[in-house]
């Protein structure tokens, strides 16, 4: 068992972090908001918490909370103007926001510029990661059945109908955006303290799209979908390496084929194979 963990420990940790990131995007998606800014929110959480622990010796749990709150605060500030636009335009605006965050991180001295932050204390453990994933999944599952969850679903299905039923759609759209950013901030903070080093490039366009792929492959009908999607897409390269496929481009190709098959044959994601949950 300990040997298994020595070999696959970092993979196991990354599966958990990616699952948390996938869940962070699941929240705005469940309210019908296609946001591509969650990797940037993770960056804010990662940089925020790492600066606190490295420069100010802030205790780790406090640094995570501060990173997540910073991320949520930024989401709150940009949410009201950004969420007035819909669909693909919202995706573009949030993507642009992600670029802004990346460029800010490259140019500030406190974030270490293009080289990023080096020497972040290694404080994240598998237990912390999976405890957070479990707590988040439970919270989101319960949220889904609450009045808030039903409001998210109503906004997703038909915004006009939701309005005339008394749902303050602006508030719930903002709420989903901020909650997603908060979870992404936690994931970013855990990632920073797992990895010793963070650079602005890690949180760019391909990371944003990766989060969306987790949700598409796993499905967004329940909280298990994004977790399953993150697991499969993260583990797949290792499995492929095991069977002898090591070349990078080929792996990307396999990812693409899986995505295509899921979209064509399981539009509700792989989790729809295991019983329908609304």
């Amino acid at each position: 068992m300990s040997e298994f963990f020595a070999v696959y420990g970092s993979l196991i940790n990354f599966v958990g972090i990616n699952a948390l990131l996938a869940l962070s995007l699941y929240v705005p998606l469940s309210a019908g908001q296609l946001s591509l800014g969650n990797a940037a929110f993770a960056a804010i959480g990662a940089y925020g918490s790492a600066i606190l622990t490295m420069r100010f010796n802030v205790p780790f749990p406090l640094a995570i909370a501060a990173g997540a709150c910073l991320s949520a605060a930024v989401a709150m500030a940009i949410g009201t103007p950004v969420l007035r636009i819909r669909g693909i335009f919202l995706a573009m605006a949030t993507l642009a926001f992600g670029e802004v965050v990346r460029i800010v991180a490259v140019n500030l001295a406190i974030t270490g510029g293009a080289e990023g932050l080096i020497g972040i204390p290694n404080k994240t453990t598998a237990l912390i990661i999976y405890g957070t994933v479990a707590a988040t999944a439970y919270f989101l599952a319960v949220l889904g059945g609450s009045r808030i969850g039903w409001s998210f679903a109503s906004v997703r299905e038909d915004e006009t109908a939701a309005m005339v039923m008394g749902i303050n759609t602006t508030r719930y759209k903002n709420g989903s955006f901020v909650l997603g950013a908060f979870i992404a901030g936690i994931a970013g903070a855990l990632y920073a303290h797992l990895n010793f080093i963070i650079t602005p490039g890690e949180f760019g366009f391909s990371a944003e799209v990766q989060l969306l792929i987790y949700n598409i492959v796993g499905g967004t009908r329940s909280v298990l979908g994004p977790i399953l999607g993150a697991f499969i897409i993260t583990v797949l390269p290792e499995v492929l390496r095991g069977v002898g496929v090591t070349a990078g481009p080929l792996r990307m190709g396999v990812n693409g084929v899986i995505l295509l098959l899921v979209i064509l044959y399981l539009p509700n994601g792989l989790s729809s194979l295991f019983g329908q949950k609304r």
């Binding site: 109503s154 038909d158 109908a161 008394g166």
Partner: protein
């Protein structure tokens, strides 16, 4: 008057969809809104529910001006509606559609559910029971577990009415509620609407089925090119020369 339109005007570009529309809806009555296509009936309903703001004029609900409020605020004052082109939550079941419509009823609070408090289970039971009662009133309790997108046209209209009733409205706006329904369904809807009025709900309805409007409504308002032609009892309206010319006369020629 429970709902009072005071010189409501609204134009889209150069088109005057509504110009100085004035009439009142009495409490606990069924008020019909008729007029040829494009006469502004649906626009007027959108003004009431807050989806379209009027350019000029006032709208009073129970004496309170509501024409500047956002849709969710107006709903909170007890205004529910259905849509001409039916707006359901297609990928939810009938039961789930109605549960989503209970938003303003409180219940299903997050924290009791997180800690599995007894109150969470009680709220859940209450919510499901209320939803079932609304479905039963609209006569589609048998389809509670069916997806909304799998329903027939008439059933969709009923589900939309059930969802509107979940809000426990004081006034119900129905935009062509019986379009596409069979004769028996129409009779059932008639019974439902009458019982709603008896329980204290006011209904404002748009409908093209004239016999239905004539026998159900206490008062009728006729719109033509965005203007009120007349408001009165069904028999007065039916004999009004301008109405016959503008609407009824034209219809019988077709």
């Amino acid at each position: 008057m429970f709902l009072e339109f005071e010189k409501i005007s609204r134009s889209f570009g150069g088109v005057n969809a509504l110009s100085e529309v004035s009439f009142g809806v009495q409490a606990k009555t069924i008020h019909g809104l008729i007029g040829p296509n494009g006469s502004g009936k649906t626009t007027l309903m959108n003004v009431v529910s807050g989806l379209t703001g009027p350019d000029a004029g006032r709208l009073l609900l129970d004496g309170r001006p509501i024409h500047r409020l956002r849709p969710h605020r107006i709903a909170a004052l007890g205004v529910a509606r259905t849509f001409q082109n039916i707006r359901l939550f297609p990928k939810m079941t009938c039961m789930e559609n109605v549960i989503a419509g209970q938003h303003l009823m409180g219940g299903r609070a997050l924290f009791p559910r997180l800690f599995r408090l007894p109150s969470a289970r009680a709220e859940e039971r209450q919510s499901v029971a209320n939803a079932m009662a609304c479905l039963a009133k609209a006569g589609i309790e048998g389809r509670a577990r069916a997806l909304a997108c799998s329903l027939s046209y008439g059933e969709r209209r009923r589900l939309e009415i059930a969802r509107a009733m979940a809000l426990k409205p004081r006034i119900l706006l129905l935009d062509e509620p019986i379009a596409g329904m069979r004769l028996r369904e129409i009779e059932e809807m008639e019974t439902l609407f009458r019982s709603l009025v008896e329980s204290g709900v006011t209904i404002l309805l748009i409908e093209h089925n004239m016999p239905f409007v004539m026998r159900l409504c206490q008062r009728i308002t006729v719109l033509h090119f965005g203007q009120t032609v007349t408001t009165g009892a069904p028999e007065e309206v039916a004999e009004h020369p301008e109405v016959i010319e503008a609407y009824l006369g034209m219809k019988s020629e077709c």
